[in-house]
């Protein structure tokens, strides 16, 4: 196995300015159709980066490149370079399974496994052998549920099916499940689009807390959400990264006309 996982020593010695993840000249094709054109984007560590843009603009496609989930689509082809801590993740020597353990993902629709709440969270740590003893595993599960802000609500029924929770709780369960693997980056693909406003507020609050320990990239359709939770925003349009920068700048003084039209609600 390649020594892909960086040990903490080398990580601390890296310059703070180095982005956690970076895409350089990323082109993505679905069959003959090109979905992304020369995207260059850096994802800084311990910040929330929001990807916004109208439907079909390629923001989800870019997100799925970051943990190689596009590999599961037969006709998808990715060109260019994407790095995690300076290492290319499309390097043939990279183990995609380990990559995904480091770059976790939360999906648009809550997708808990048809198992108990406990088993849902324990799934990742078990397959990666993170816990040697049963007590360790329990600790990881409880910690993850706590970090996802779900523990107090479900502590009485850890062994009931995760599918029995409400939509918002299910989504937090999915976040807990991702946290339990101890990733460095968490990708979120419109995590609130299937939720009501109260559940959305809880998830947004949670995202802000998670920033402390994880680097987060979130795709969202809601510009208010991007403004509320993110530090940096990237605006995609028709497969092109139009503009990216600090969220406050993108929303108040965008350079590009298209960005301005979009964030002021003129289209999209």
């Amino acid at each position: 196995m390649t020594q892909w996982t960086l040990d903490p020593e080398t990580r601390t010695t890296e310059p703070a300015s180095l982005p956690k993840m970076r895409g350089e000249n990323v082109n993505v094709f679905y069959g003959t159709k090109q979905a992304l054109f020369d995207v260059n984007l850096a994802v800084p560590e311990h910040q929330v980066t929001a990807l916004i843009g109208p439907s079909g603009c390629g923001k989800s496609t870019f997100l799925r490149c970051l943990n190689r989930m596009n590999d599961t689509i037969d006709i998808a082809r990715v060109e260019g370079e994407i790095t995690l801590d300076g290492r290319s993740i499309y390097d043939p020597k990279i183990d995609v399974v380990e990559l995904r353990a480091q770059v976790g993902m939360v999906f648009q629709k809550p997708n808990p496994f048809p198992k108990s709440i406990f088993e849902n969270v324990a799934y990742g740590p078990t397959i990666h052998g993170r816990a040697s003893a049963k007590a360790d595993l329990e600790q990881i599960v409880v910690d993850s549920l706590r970090k996802a802000g779900l523990y107090e609500e479900v502590k009485e029924r850890l062994h009931e099916p995760g599918t029995g929770l409400s939509g918002g709780q299910q989504q937090r369960l999915c976040i807990a499940r991702a946290i339990a693997v101890a990733p460095e980056v968490i990708l979120m693909d419109e995590p609130c689009s299937a939720l009501d406003p109260i559940a959305t507020a809880k998830i947004e609050e949670l995202i802000d807390e998670l920033r402390e320990n994880f680097t987060i990239v979130i795709v969202t359709h809601s510009m208010q959400q991007a403004a509320r939770v993110s530090q940096r925003t990237a605006f995609f349009h028709l497969g092109v990264l139009v503009e990216e920068g600090p969220t406050s700048e993108i929303f108040t003084s965008p350079n590009d006309k298209r960005t301005q039209d979009y964030v002021t609600g003129r289209f999209g």
């Binding site: 943990n67 989930m69 599961t72 037969d74 399974v97 380990e98 990559l99 995904r100 353990a101 480091q102 976790g104 993902m105 999906f107 629709k109 997708n111 808990p112 496994f113 048809p114 198992k115 799934y123 990742g124 397959i127 990666h128 099916p161 599918t163 999915c174 499940r177 991702a178 693997v181």
Partner: protein, 460 residues
């Protein structure tokens, strides 16, 4: 005669349809569109059903009872000298003789009483048939009149038609249930006859099965023993071997087809796999006897193992191949029904495809897979042709797959082939075996249904 009557009913219904439709068309065209409740086609259909359905039911009921009534009348008209003190079976003999004579199948000169009765029988039957035709025609005419009177712009023919359709669908469902019920009743009745002759304790717990007892005094036959345990264990042994072959192969091929095979491979492999289900079982039978059994025997003799020519291994193995498609196609459906989001969720946590399959997909699809396995199991237990050809005839209480065993279905076939007498435990034991088989496969099917229902779509 009845054939023409059915044809007449259909023609009358068609005529009624046109009458109803044209009547409705007239006011639909003339009147205010909103005031007309139903479209003409519903008025037509309504009239057709009113004309056709009652007449059809009448004719069917009539046919059901006509013969019984005529028979009773004829028996009553027989001179008392014949019927006095005659047992019911003697009367049945008379009746069948009368029927034969009436149908012109005369083997010897019939007695004058019988000939006279046959004449009466024939004439009454003709009379009854004509009466049926007349009553049916009158009924249809009356129904057509009533339906025509009711057709008006505000008449809700659409709802009436719906209701009539409801009734038709309910009767179709009821028919299936009635047939099942009839099978159960006839099986149970004969099985009870059997248990009058042989105690149930012997049948269910006896270890010796030699049912080929003589039904004529001059036959050479067994002494008669009806302990069915070796037959049941033989069935279970063969079914178990079949499942041991079919479950891994079926399940793994389904997983391969759903999760790994590309579209082209899938397009080739899946139909071929499904052809297995289309091969006639008799072909599997001689494949087992002529190809597999000698090969297995030779292989065994290489290692110095004696294998019976009709071993459970061969019958079960070939049966296992036959039921692979049941498991693979149901598992295939179940796996495909697991949402893509489950796969994505697992892969995004850094699980390998194999971990995703064993830990997420198969558990999520388990109800469907279990349903397939139970269906295959009940098929294996009830399968007849392969085991008749490839398994043994002698009941042998063993768990050794290299020996010959017999199964319930094989025994039923051999018991009912050739001369059969229905007051003989040999024949009746077939019904007891059939009842047990029926109950077991029914239980398996019910269990399969329950499992599938209980756990269905828990992942949504």
């Amino acid at each position: 005669m009845t054939g023409y009557l059915f044809l007449t009913i259909i023609l009358f219904s068609l005529a009624a349809f046109y009458v109803g439709r044209s009547a409705a068309t007239r006011f639909a065209v003339a009147g205010d569109r909103l005031a007309v409740h139903s479209r003409p086609i519903y008025h037509g259909a309504f009239a057709a059903i009113w004309v056709g359905l009652p007449a059809l039911v009448l004719v069917l009921v009539w046919l059901l009872f006509q013969d019984g009534v005529v028979r009773t009348l004829v028996v009553q008209s027989l001179p008392p000298s014949l019927t006095e003190g005659a047992s019911s079976s003697q009367i049945s003999l008379f009746v069948s003789e009368i029927r034969n004579v009436a149908a012109g199948r005369i083997f010897a000169e019939p007695r004058p009483e019988i000939a006279a009765a046959a004449e009466r029988y024939a004439s009454w039957t003709v009379l009854a048939n004509w009466a049926m035709v007349v009553v049916a025609l009158c009924m249809m005419a009356l129904a057509l009149f009533l339906a025509r009177v009711r057709i008006s712009p505000r008449y809700r023919a659409r709802q009436s038609f719906e209701r009539a359709l409801d009734i038709i669908m309910i009767s179709s469902a009821a028919l299936a249930i009635l047939v099942t019920f009839g099978i159960i009743v006839s099986l149970t009745y004969e099985a009870i006859q059997f248990f009058r002759l042989v105690p149930p304790t012997e049948f269910f717990f006896g270890l010796n099965w030699e049912p080929q007892i003589a039904i004529r005094a001059d036959q050479v036959a067994g002494t008669g023993a009806f302990g069915a345990v070796p037959v049941f264990t033989g069935t279970l042994l063969i079914a178990a071997i079949a499942l041991i072959v079919a479950i891994p192969v079926g399940l793994l091929s389904a997983i391969y087809l759903v999760e790994f095979a590309n579209r082209r491979v899938r397009g080739i492999v899946k139909p071929i796999l499904e052809i297995l289900a289309g091969v006639p079982t008799v072909v599997y039978g001689f494949f087992a006897v002529l190809t597999v059994a000698p090969a297995v025997r030779q292989t065994g003799s290489l290692f110095g193992i004696a294998i019976s020519p009709n071993s459970a291994l061969v019958a079960g193995g070939v049966m296992g191949i036959m039921i692979i498609p049941f498991i693979s196609s149901l598992a295939d459906d179940a796996l495909k029904a697991v949402p893509q989001s489950m796969r994505d969720g697992s892969l995004a946590l850094g699980a390998t495809p194999a971990e995703t399959i064993t830990k997420v997909l198969v558990p999520a699809a388990l109800p469907g897979i279990m349903g397939g396995i139970l269906l295959a199991a009940s098929r294996a237990i009830g399968e007849t042709m392969i085991v008749v050809m490839a398994a043994g005839l002698t009941a042998n209480l063993t768990a050794n797959p290299l020996e010959g065993v017999t199964t319930v279905t094989v025994q039923i076939v051999t018991l009912l082939i050739g001369d059969t007498a229905f007051d003989n435990p040999k024949t009746l034991s077939a019904f007891a075996l059939g009842l047990v088989l029926f109950v077991v496969t029914l239980c398996l099917n019910v269990a399969a249904l329950k499992i599938v229902q209980r756990y269905r779509e828990k992942y949504e």
